[in-house]
Symmetry: none
């Protein structure tokens, strides 16, 4: 059967000039792929009338679905809406419901609607308005000769919410794409090539209608199994059976499935065990705490953190013994053990964890290079430490050390019945 074909069209000079990176296209194509819709092309064009009209016509010739982002602001350089009106040859009019939504959006923030804001509610009469719960520019859904043009704001969180709540469900309803089943297996603490070696035989034995992709990110590799077929139930069972066969090979590195991130998995494990957590983070500078608190409901198990960035604060506020710091330095196993134990005691939590390292670019010595990080986990049963040697990139080191600490929590927590 013929796949449903979609194109992504990004409008805005800021991408063409290299001033912002287009992260929307990757997110959208991954989501559409999961929905069984094939992306055949991604195009970025600038804020120019003729370019936009030509791109619309070209995309319409090739694809069933044209998803447009960007160029929806209320200012004069935003051309997407007037060009869509011209392309579909229909007039623009104030949309009463859209106006109510924009007004409510401003009121909820205690702000007055300006004349410029009001223009956001003026839409081509031939489109269906799609609500934008997180912003002021509504989405616009056009249909013509069985093809769909869908225009969304370029602001990532507005676009994502609109895609998940409205656009993908509407596209699935209209096109009823073939069954695609994805299963994501989330691994952590193992590199892509070592992982590939360990599962090479299993990968070779995959049937032709089930494909495997490696999706690496900082500290993690997700494995995605994708099956294509006519019977979704059978396909689900088959993928389930195949994914179970990987557990004897790399089970210790698997922390979850699907969309659950490591910080969410940690939250689930802490809740299941009724345990509380506190954090003393130095080189990660707040990023571990940010990951932990990005999870809704984290206040159930996360009580607080100390970020003793400065040497004096490590002693005076956190309470690391001066002789330990003087003898071993801030980036050492002795200090990291102190940090994890002290924060656990001070904050009166079941678990205390800590980071200390040299994120770079400054602060290195011959014995302690940029990228050297110590992490520790402490509970009433044991204290576990780990030494990491990361990269020379500051932000990468902050993120990789944070993910490594979350993984240390995962592997060090007591079994469920013990907690």
């Amino acid at each position: 059967m013929k796949p449903i074909r979609a194109e992504l069209l990004t409008i805005g000079d800021e991408i063409l000039y290299g001033q912002i990176i287009d992260t929307n296209s990757q997110w959208m194509s991954a989501e559409l792929d999961k929905a069984g819709i094939k992306i055949i092309r991604m195009t970025s064009i600038g804020d120019e009338e003729q370019e936009i009209l030509t791109a619309f016509a070209e995309a319409e010739r090739r694809a069933d679905i044209i998803l447009i982002t960007g160029g929806l602001g209320p200012t004069s350089d935003d051309l997407t809406k007037p060009m869509l009106a011209r392309y579909f040859n229909c007039e623009m009019k104030l949309h009463e419901e859209a106006l109510k939504e924009v007004t409510a959006f401003f009121n909820s923030r205690g702000r007055e609607l300006t004349e410029t804001n009001k223009l956001q509610a003026v839409l081509p009469v031939c489109c269906t308005k799609i609500t934008n719960p997180l912003g002021t520019a509504p989405g616009m859904w056009f249909e013509k000769n069985g093809k769909v043009f869908m225009s969304m704001p370029g602001v990532p969180h507005e676009m994502k919410r609109m895609m998940i709540d409205s656009v993908i469900p509407k596209l699935k309803e209209k096109y009823k794409p073939a069954a695609i089943v994805h299963k994501i297996i989330r691994t952590i603490g193992i590199g892509e090539s070592v992982l590939a070696d360990k599962i090479a035989d299993w990968e070779k034995a995959l049937p032709p209608h089930i494909k495997l992709a490696y999706l690496p990110s900082i500290g993690e590799v997700r494995l995605r199994l994708t099956g294509l077929g006519n019977n979704e139930i059978l396909l689900n069972e088959e993928i389930e059976a195949i994914s179970n066969k990987i557990i004897p090979l790399v089970g210790e590195y698997i922390y979850g499935y699907g969309e659950e991130k490591i910080e969410e998995a940690i939250g689930r494990m802490l809740r299941e065990r009724s345990l509380t957590l506190s954090i003393a983070e130095s080189c990660t500078g707040g990023y571990v705490s940010h990951l932990v608190t990005s999870v809704p409901g984290s206040s159930q198990y996360f009580l607080g953190s100390m970020i003793p960035y400065d040497y004096q604060i490590k002693m005076r506020q956190l309470g690391v013994k001066p002789e330990v710091l003087e003898q071993h330095g801030a980036v050492s196993e002795a200090t990291i053990i102190e940090m994890a134990n002290i924060v656990r005691a001070k904050f009166n939590t079941d678990i205390g964890v800590a980071t200390s390292g040299i994120a770079g670019p400054g602060g290195a010595t011959p014995e302690k290079p940029v990228g050297l990080v110590w992490i520790a986990y402490s509970d009433k049963h044991h204290t576990v430490t780990k030494k990491l040697q990361l990269s020379t990139d500051r932000l990468l080191n902050i993120k990789a050390a944070s993910v490594a600490l979350l993984n240390l929590i995962r592997t060090s927590l007591p079994a469920r019945h013990v907690g």
Copy 2:
């Protein structure tokens, strides 16, 4: 005068399926823009013969320069080289110098050249080989009717080296492009449409060769002026004069120019004043500290943070008076003032700042809805508070409150001579 027009063409299924993000295009367009070459379109297509040939022909009709990345590996799904040979109608032949380079590349890494590797040195006879010092796939430069097709590997560091060493110098020599000048004005704490209203007359008065774009992100709007002309020095002066005229209109919202982010601007301002900072963050959960410590050298002015997420920790660890918490609640002006003052005193810093709010989705009451956040700034001269009403999205609230706090630091810091 007509600008030199370039298109970027990325070939490879992995980008279309959303498995990797295309960072090359942003880097290339920023570099080409600096060289005075205008990018008119970026396109990503998959590993399909007909798609590739069609994209070549379309790009040739529109642009002077077509820069191609990806699809140059030695495996059968890499189609760029055979499609270029077919498009330019010329045969493929072993290129002796390319073979020497590939052999030397392998030898330098102590590896033997395989038959598959050797294929990397087989090139269409109608191209000029461009050396790839960091990899095995040479670049290929084609000319036809005054237009240039340039094919490069998709591996970012190989492409970047080739662009800087060979491609951009060759393009400048061939096309002698006109000058393009950009200036970015960074504003914070003012919405896009209010900003647009305030500068409407200034915007209308811009000469036709200077364009304005609004680039919004969470809590910020950057304004980009782009001028095109023959004399770069005069153009720079003109843009400078125009950008100065905006200061009387919205100067209080401008925190910097160019690439400097708000957390970098705060760092610069603190260093200039020799002031130190500590943070007590509750609802932002570490994100403010992460932004501050993402800046290299932040340990010069940032001493540490406390994240008193739990109610008890706010009292026992930070030291907020129980009667203040009981009477006003954790999310209140009285508590936020305490938090900022106490962290400043405890950490012995010049400045203390704090956040407390309801990030959501839980924790709201009728009087204190999701998105309500109090922020505070404290130094020896004064304490400044601000109440925010943000959105219903947890992550957005965390980020928007953090940016608002950084802006509160900016607007509350003593003037330079006082510090």
